[in-house]
């Protein structure tokens, strides 16, 4: 009996189809052995552990998946994918879920992770490289955690581990163009 046959035919398989298309992974191949979750270091902090994510997508529990924090705290450490006996790249599924949430501008349950990522990418787009003092400062501003991470600053300064001013890489304009081109190519695909 396949998983398809035991799922409720009235439930939606739209999310499963979307994730399969994005990740290239066969969601129905999962037979729920739980090896992914057993090895997952972030599972304890997830609303749905990796095995539950797989099952929820199989049986169309779309709201549960779309509102959970799991793919925001996933560390992309690749243990789940390396150990899956069905050779499903589960980390890729997690990545696809996050990409989808970002593309759809849905409200992330882990606001801090989303803010951090957004600022990180803005820095690269602008300077070509990550400049850590700015990253932390903008993070504190946009996450409204104004005093986060300040305890490390004095030691980092004394150990000359923190550059206060950004260094713009030569040809930074080209980097901004890469970001724009990536958006264009992706939009073409969605509309084409």
């Amino acid at each position: 009996m396949t998983v398809d046959m035991i799922t409720n035919p009235t439930t939606s398989n739209q999310l499963r189809k979307l994730i399969e298309a994005r990740s290239g992974q066969k969601m129905l191949a999962c037979y729920q052995c739980g090896k992914c979750t057993a090895g997952c270091r972030a599972a304890y902090a997830m609303d749905l552990a990796p095995r539950q994510i797989m099952r929820s997508i199989q049986i169309g529990l779309e709201d549960e998946v779309l509102t959970c924090n799991s793919y925001w705290v996933c560390l992309q450490c690749q243990v789940c994918s390396a150990r899956c006996p069905r050779e499903i790249d589960i980390a890729k599924v997690m990545e696809s879920l996050r990409q989808l949430a970002i593309a759809e501008k849905s409200k992330p349950p882990e606001k801090e992770v989303a803010v951090f990522n957004r600022i990180f990418l803005k820095m690269i787009k602008r300077y070509g490289r990550v400049y850590e003092a700015g990253l932390a400062a903008f993070y504190n501003l946009f996450s409204k955690h104004f005093f986060a991470n300040l305890s490390l600053v004095p030691s980092m300064l004394f150990k000359r581990k923190l550059s206060i001013l950004p260094v713009k890489v030569k040809g930074a304009k080209k980097i901004a163009r890469i970001f724009d081109r990536v958006k264009e190519i992706e939009n073409e695909k969605v509309s084409g």
Binding site: L75, Q76, C77, E110, V113, L121, I124, Y131, V169
Partner: protein, 287 residues
Amino acid sequence: MAELVYSYYPGCALHSSSKEYDISTRLVCEALGIELRELEGWICCGASSAHTTSDLLGLALPAQTLKIAEESDLPLVVPCAMCFSRLKFTIAGLKDNATRNDINKALDEELGQEIEVESLLKVLDGKTISIPVTKPLTGLKVACYYGCLLVRPLEVTSLDDIENPTMMDGLVQNLGAESIDWDFKTECCGAGLPIARPDMVLDLSYQILSQAKSLGADCVAVACPMCHSNLDMQQKKMKSEDGQRLNLPILYFTQLIGLALGLSAKELALRKHFINPLPMLRDKGLA
């Protein structure tokens, strides 16, 4: 004239919070007759923020650095595990025609498929080049910590066993140190979450360090700036059950090589660590 010449991609961390990795890498390579030529105009690999936002962005950013490396016509050596992983994922992507077309379009360039990228650990593991040890690290017990991205996925990095890698262990043994057998070699330290979810980083890193400590390790050796900053910079915020601080020094493997080559603690920037390794090293007559 150096025997081996590589293009060098330090990555963002080695230019700021992990300067000691850059400093020790350059010194050790020079001592071993390896010439490193830093790529001009390299950019950030995008780390996990880029690829978890968009597949193509996660490939296009490393591809820009690969393009510069391709023009240098030298193999590229990468010290950071995250940069290494992203470059290797991109090389894997370039083998697929549709993906390569998208990458080329995003860059407005034509990339070849045969760009050689090597992790610094592989270049210095003692098999590519012999290490003339003058000051063996006798009596030093090292927990070799590989982290995630050097070893996983195997088909992308092709570096070592994914569950029990041994290349760093072999290296430190060659330097005269003892490597401990432990469970956390490839267990994630919390990766890029120290700012957004510091609680998770402290939990995960503490588990790693407490096992190393309980098995009698004098220090942990790492090959990744992100692992280093989680285990070292965040360590003073970790509490053990009995309220004791771990006080476990975290060293880059390049610094261990440097010590065995007779380079000084100052040259190797050992004081840049938050957990000062010098008292332990002096106790053992190694610094």
